[in-house]
């Protein structure tokens, strides 16, 4: 059994309060200081300690492997707030046992926008990976692990050999998520997230009411070794370690103990996403409608589920036409920062239940209406700027 341990690193550019009265005043949309403060805090709680532990794990156990996806907006903030975090990642990548993934630079829903946005964002991200880490990823993951057949075809056109997706019952039709499957596009394999085993760490690790609490590395390795199949995908937010579960929960010790616990189970071995896509496919994986890793429904409802979210996304789509025709790199980059999926996530109107709690935890606003109004104001302003720019250049 190959363990594909993959961690996602992302931070959005959160908006400042951009009032209706701020339209046309030239006020910046993004609160740089606040974003960097948040980054520094998470760097102290999570990025530094966890990367340091991963470095020790790689040094002590030559069989250990891990994969990262790192968004462009994360790297922009890291460069300003904590450049040592980038240096730490570089050191890990240099071991040759850490694979990097491709994705949209802005962590956007660019796949729902007219071309060439998706191509350009993935290319921007590829370039950044090459510049900073001197590697060219062969596996693509889409924002929020969104996957469908069209994206597999896109991956094939762009020369990728694999994609990641949620191991969700619908498309599996009774089959195990613990295999590599072939997508509808030739040459593109799909590695799936085992959401039960992933969520045991991601969500349940620190839940005292959980029957398996406390989860030890030994117990977890045993579950992995007894899981049927040949590849198990443990896909998690990087912030699982030290931020979602604070260090006081013992999550970092759990992480450090994993390699030796895995070593005691003879049928287990570590693999990167690039190792995994070379495993022969167990069958076809067909996903006509987009599927994500979020919420109980695994659809796009977390970002485009209500009228506000859909209207905001439509408005962003339209603003893109103006932004592009302005030929102003600053306007284009502001527009793309507004495409980051987190902005739409904040506009989710939560009811009750587990999803609602998760949404509230991740929101940067006190309610979805603040998020929507603020976003629409910024977008309105961007459209004005684009038009003014276009008029000026004629």
């Amino acid at each position: 059994m190959k363990i594909v341990f993959y961690l996602h690193l992302h931070q959005p550019w959160r908006l400042a309060r951009f009032r209706y009265l701020d339209l046309g005043t030239g006020k910046p949309y993004f609160d740089i200081d606040r974003n960097l403060d948040i980054f520094r805090r998470i760097a102290a709680n999570c990025y530094r300690p966890t990367l340091d532990r991963l470095e020790v794990m790689l040094r002590q156990d030559p069989r250990f492997r891990v994969s990262f996806s790192i968004t462009g907006t994360f790297l922009e903030q890291a460069a300003l707030a904590a450049p040592d975090v980038i240096e730490r990642i570089q050191r890990l990548v240099e071991t040759g046992r850490v694979a990097l993934l491709s994705e949209t630079y802005y962590h956007s829903l660019a796949f729902l926008l007219p071309p060439p946005e998706l191509e350009e964002e993935v290319a921007l991200h590829q370039q950044r990976m090459e510049d900073l880490f001197h590697v060219r990823p062969h596996v693509l993951r889409m924002t929020e692990l969104v996957y469908d057949d069209d994206l597999a075809r896109f991956a094939a056109r762009e020369g990728f050999s694999g994609m990641l997706a949620e191991g969700w019952e619908g498309p599996l039709r009774g089959r195990s998520p613990n295999h590599v499957y072939s997508s509808v596009a030739r040459g593109v394999s799909v590695v799936l997230r085992n959401y039960r085993l992933s969520d045991d760490v991601g969500f349940r690790f620190s839940a005292r009411g959980w029957t398996e609490y406390p989860l030890t590395a030994e117990k977890y390795a045993l579950w992995l070794s007894r899981s049927p199949g040949d590849v198990v995908g443990l896909f998690l937010d990087f912030e699982t370690f030290g931020e979602h579960h604070p260090a006081s929960t013992g999550i970092l010790e759990f992480l450090s103990a994993l390699p030796s616990a895995v070593a005691r189970e003879p049928n287990l071995e570590w693999a990167t996403v690039e190792d995994a896509v070379r495993v022969p496919a167990a069958g076809p994986f067909v996903v006509p409608e987009p599927m994500s890793w979020a919420d109980e429904n695994r659809d796009l409802g977390a970002w485009l589920g209500n009228d506000m979210q859909r209207s905001a996304f439509d408005a962003a789509k339209k603003a893109g036409t103006f932004a592009r025709s302005s030929h102003d790199p600053e306007i284009l980059s502001d527009w793309r920062k507004l495409l980051t999926s987190d902005h739409f996530y904040y506009m989710y109107v939560s009811g009750k239940g587990a999803d609602a709690d998760v949404h509230r935890y991740f929101s940067s606003y006190s309610n979805p209406y603040d998020a929507y109004a603020n976003y629409m104001n910024a977008l309105n302003d961007l459209r004005r700027r684009s038009l003014a720019k276009a008029r000026a250049s004629h």
Binding site: Y20, N306, M308, S311, N367, P368, D370, Y372, A373
Partner: protein
Amino acid sequence: MRFAPSGAGTGLVSLKRLTILMAGWEYPPFHTGGLGVHCYEISRELARLGHRVVFLTPFPGPFADAPGVEFRTLSECLPPGTPIPGAYTPAEIYGPRFLDVVNQYNDWIAHLTDVEDADVVHVHDWFGTVGCRALARRLGIPLVMSVHSTEYDRTLGHPYAPILERERIGIRAADRIIAVSRQLGEQLITLYDAPPPRVRVVYNAVRPVAPELDDGRLRDVVLYLGRLTRMKGPDTFLRAAAVVAPAFPEIRFAVAGEGPEYEHLIALAASLGIGDRVLFFGKVTEAERAALLRDAAVFVLPSVVEPFGIAALEAMAAGVPTIVSKTSGVGEVVRSAFQVDFWDVDEFASRISELLEYPHLSREMGDQARHEATEAGWAERARQTVDVYREAIRARALRR
């Protein structure tokens, strides 16, 4: 939070039907503000839960229909035609006569007969505290005091000594003190030395409003509805209106309510250049109020001080997107309203503009507001109040 929310972990409770002597001064239709409405709704629900409520008021009746609520009225003991001031009429307007009526009310309560079977005395605000303290002592039953607002707040920090003293008497004597919001509860602890273990919070509620059929009717009014006093911040409303008005020429601004600031506000609207855009309605009837809420695109509660702010909850129940000041207690129970610093005119103006500009925003917010405002109704608040009564009764039994 330094004190417990009401209704938490009441454990084994006796299911005995309680007899409650409630002193609330106002009762509809004799009411000038939220106090009377609160007394009506809570006593009605208490009766519906099977308890016996005897309401003690100076007004002569007849009162709004509330099956099971009995009334004892001071007016029987007063010379016919004695004017009785409303709860929110500034005391100085009435001068010493005002306190005369209050003193008579308290004497009457202190010596009330045929009430020996009562289980608890419940006084609302300061009016009947002296009499209720005496009555509870005489009968050997607990005193519960509800505070809806304080004299400090009503006078923006210049309390009228006789009223302040009566508030202090009630808060000192009460076995349990009910505040209509956490922020008010904190204020009772810091300004009135209320012992934190005795303070409970029971929020106000509103009745559900049947949703209007979408008849394509234009909602084109930005609404202020409340008394026109400085503590309610109506001038902030007008200043924000003046910022919003030029960009939204089809929108009207409405000020409904009466109060000492009335003339000043009319002059202010004129000097802000929006005299022709603001309609002053004065005191409105229930029907007019409902009509205004039907036409409202936005409801604004800009209060400097607002222990609760039930008008905002009523607007939300009617599906009107609502903006409240952060100093309003109602903000503690709702998430789907915009919350703004009371002094931030530009932010009020921005929020109003956003609700006028983005139809998806106002629709989602209005729908959610309607749902959220009526989630916990008066019946729930009455149950929480009964929990407080039972606590007070138990605490007294333990002290014996």
